[in-house]
């Protein structure tokens, strides 16, 4: 199907690629269907989650394990059931990124990751129990702080 988006212009969406977020995302509970758009640049791990029914709505997402090595959580049983997860390979975790004017101040949300089962095509934004992880994790650590 063709989708007229704010950022990508008109794109072709494969119906098999549409992910159903039964509860939507927090703050956007009424928007349920999304597609993951990969970055045309293979060196760039950041991707987009584009809403199907609201073409002006899209989020930048990234695999948080690429950004930080200190990130570990168990997917709760109720989520495993809700997303019909059968194999670990089917599960992908993404964090929503906030891009301010200065890209160097970019943060990702580690408190509420997106869990997607690409096999069942179901997804959910899961609020982690622990307040161990930051809502605004800085992606780029300033060089002055390193070492």
């Amino acid at each position: 199907m063709r989708l007229d988006t704010r950022h990508f212009g008109e794109i072709d969406v494969n119906k098999d690629g549409i992910i159903d977020f039964q509860d939507g995302l927090l703050g956007f509970e009424h928007v349920k269907k999304y597609v993951v758009i990969k970055n045309p640049d293979p060196e760039n791990p950041f991707m987009w989650l584009q809403a199907i029914d609201q073409p002006e709505l899209a989020f930048v997402i990234v695999n948080p394990f690429i950004i930080t090595s200190d990130y570990d959580f168990n997917i709760p049983d109720n989520i495993i059931e809700a997303l019909e997860i059968e194999k670990q390979e089917d599960v992908f975790v993404y964090s929503i990124a906030v891009l301010p004017e200065n890209i160097k101040d970019m943060t990702i949300n580690l408190t509420a990751p997106l869990i997607i089962n690409f096999n069942s095509r179901k997804g959910k934004q899961v609020v982690l129990d622990s307040d161990r992880y930051s809502l605004k994790h800085k992606v780029f650590v300033s060089n002055e702080k390193a070492g």
Binding site: R6, H7, L25, L26, G27, F28, N39, D41, E43, N44, P45, F46, W48, L57, A58, F59, V60, P76, D77, N78, E81, A82, I96, A97, V98, L99, P100, E101, I103, K104, M106, N109, T111, A112, Q125, V127, D131, L135, K136, F140, N143
Partner: protein
């Protein structure tokens, strides 16, 4: 909003399958116990609101990722 008064150890039942019990009351604080089916998500309201706000900021933010790779290589 339905407002009910409960004392310590008293409960409220919602939808026949969710129980909220007052465990302890002390000055300015109430400790609540919640029993609910596992598919029901339960979180402090301010956590929910913070995440909603962060999602909304993300949706309003830039989507252009072309500049990012040069920062990643640093």
């Amino acid at each position: 909003m339905l407002v009910l008064t409960r004392k310590s150890n008293e409960s409220i039942i919602i939808n026949g399958n969710i129980e909220i019990k007052v465990i302890e009351v002390e000055a300015g604080k109430v400790k609540l116990g919640i029993k609910a089916p596992k598919e029901i998500d339960i979180h402090r309201k301010e956590v929910y609101e913070e995440i909603q706000e962060e999602n909304k900021k993300a949706a309003l933010g830039k989507l252009d990722l072309k500049g990012i790779t040069k920062y990643l290589q640093k």
